[in-house]
Symmetry: none
Subunit: 249 residues, 2 copies
């Protein structure tokens, strides 16, 4: 149980291009009491520009963790928020930055939480968004919604500080949410079983897996629930051999 | 009566030092639908750095009004908000950024409103603060509350947009949720299949079905999602006969 949920919230920047933005993001984080910065394949880092823009948040910058891919940055995370200006079809549940912050701060009392930001030019890819449980959008001018990366981090960090400080409605019993790895393991298992059962054709995937991801993301699966679901899938997989044995006996 | 209160809100930067911050402030403003920028005795302006950091908010920058003193920038203003990280004695009434935004947006429906920001190093002077009606502070890390100037403008502009939109638009599209009967049909189907697969024993149900219900209730299943889930269960049910046929042929 973290005394301070802000200590359990990490900021993940996917493929940031400008080192100045990395530094400014570190500063934005520190002003709001966040300290864990993950950089996924940054184009230029470390860099003097990042240092300069970080100002007196150089400690956050110095402890930043550089990852090769997003999955690495999400290891151990119980709740991941994709932060994007664009909404998109078939993505995870979409909420405002403020709503996302309340949920994130609540989970962060017991488990690691990630806020994931996309590249300056392209934002988050659909694959990246679908690794997360919710999509948070910052309400913006529809004619120019392009917040600077560090400015978006500032707004999200600000909302999370307010949510964390307000105490928030902490649930009666904190739920043990499945980690990123456990969820991905379940999705792989389910997909494999559906292929074998002839329900899912990887050659013509349509949108089956993204839809199922969206559904389960909304449910915010607990660890034990993932175990139950995998048990069900496993029972279906095993079905044939067991019946054969019974019928043979 | 302004249709859009945001059109009645000006951002005033007192003695900004770095042109990059002026450009970034212009961008922050435009993303939130603000367009009136006042610069009181800027150290370097115009400047290429300001242009670059403004990105596609160069129109806001181009229309910025340069003033010699704060009084000039506040001409015609009905309500002025001093924005500062520091609270101080003998100042005007002190509120949070969020509370200030609600008041500002309310006044801005009928009269010009100003949000006044201090110099990067020293912030606002007491004289400047006392020109305003309220002092708005952005809740921050007490050990490092030094938001970048443009980042502070971003947070204030964001709060004013939300206040003007009164709570912010909910991005959610109305979803076609499954009916009670559809849900019950799915639960029955799933239970039947699990019994047949040997995963679920109705004699010793434990809490499997209630747990699954709780899980799917949280997801608030859509009609189409129930159809997908039933399709998956059906495919698993069909599995044995199909395999038998193949193996027999």
């Amino acid at each position: 149980m973290a005394a301070d949920p802000l200590k359990n919230i990490r900021i993940v920047l996917c493929a940031p291009v400008h080192p100045g933005n990395i530094g400014a993001a570190a500063r934005a984080m520190k002003t709001m009491g966040l300290a864990q910065l993950y950089l996924v394949a940054p184009e230029r880092y470390p860099d003097a520009q990042a240092q300069w823009r970080a100002s007196r948040a150089s400690d956050v910058l110095a402890r930043a963790i550089v990852c090769a891919c997003l999955d690495e940055a999400l290891a151990g995370v119980g709740f991941a928020v994709a932060c994007s200006a664009r909404s998109r079809e078939l993505a995870v549940r979409e909420v405002t930055a403020r709503e996302a912050a309340v949920e994130a701060a609540s989970v962060a009392r017991t488990q690691p939480v990630a806020c994931v930001f996309g590249n300056e030019t392209y934002g988050l890819t659909t694959v990246e968004v679908n690794r997360c449980q919710i999509l948070a959008t910052i309400p913006a001018n529809p004619r120019y919604s392009s917040l600077n990366l560090a400015a978006a981090v500032q707004v999200m960090a600000y909302e999370m500080r307010l949510a964390a400080m307000s105490g928030g409605a902490s649930p009666a019993q904190p739920r043990q949410l499945a980690t990123f790895e456990e969820l991905e393991g379940f999705y792989e298992h389910l997909e494999r079983a559906m292929v074998e059962a002839g329900f899912f054709n990887p050659q013509h995937p349509k949108k089956l897996m993204p839809r199922l991801r969206r559904l389960f993301a909304r449910a915010r699966l607990e660890q034990e629930e993932v175990n139950i679901l995998r048990g069900i899938v496993k029972a279906f997989e095993r079905r044939k051999p067991e019946r054969m044995k019974n019928e043979g006996g």
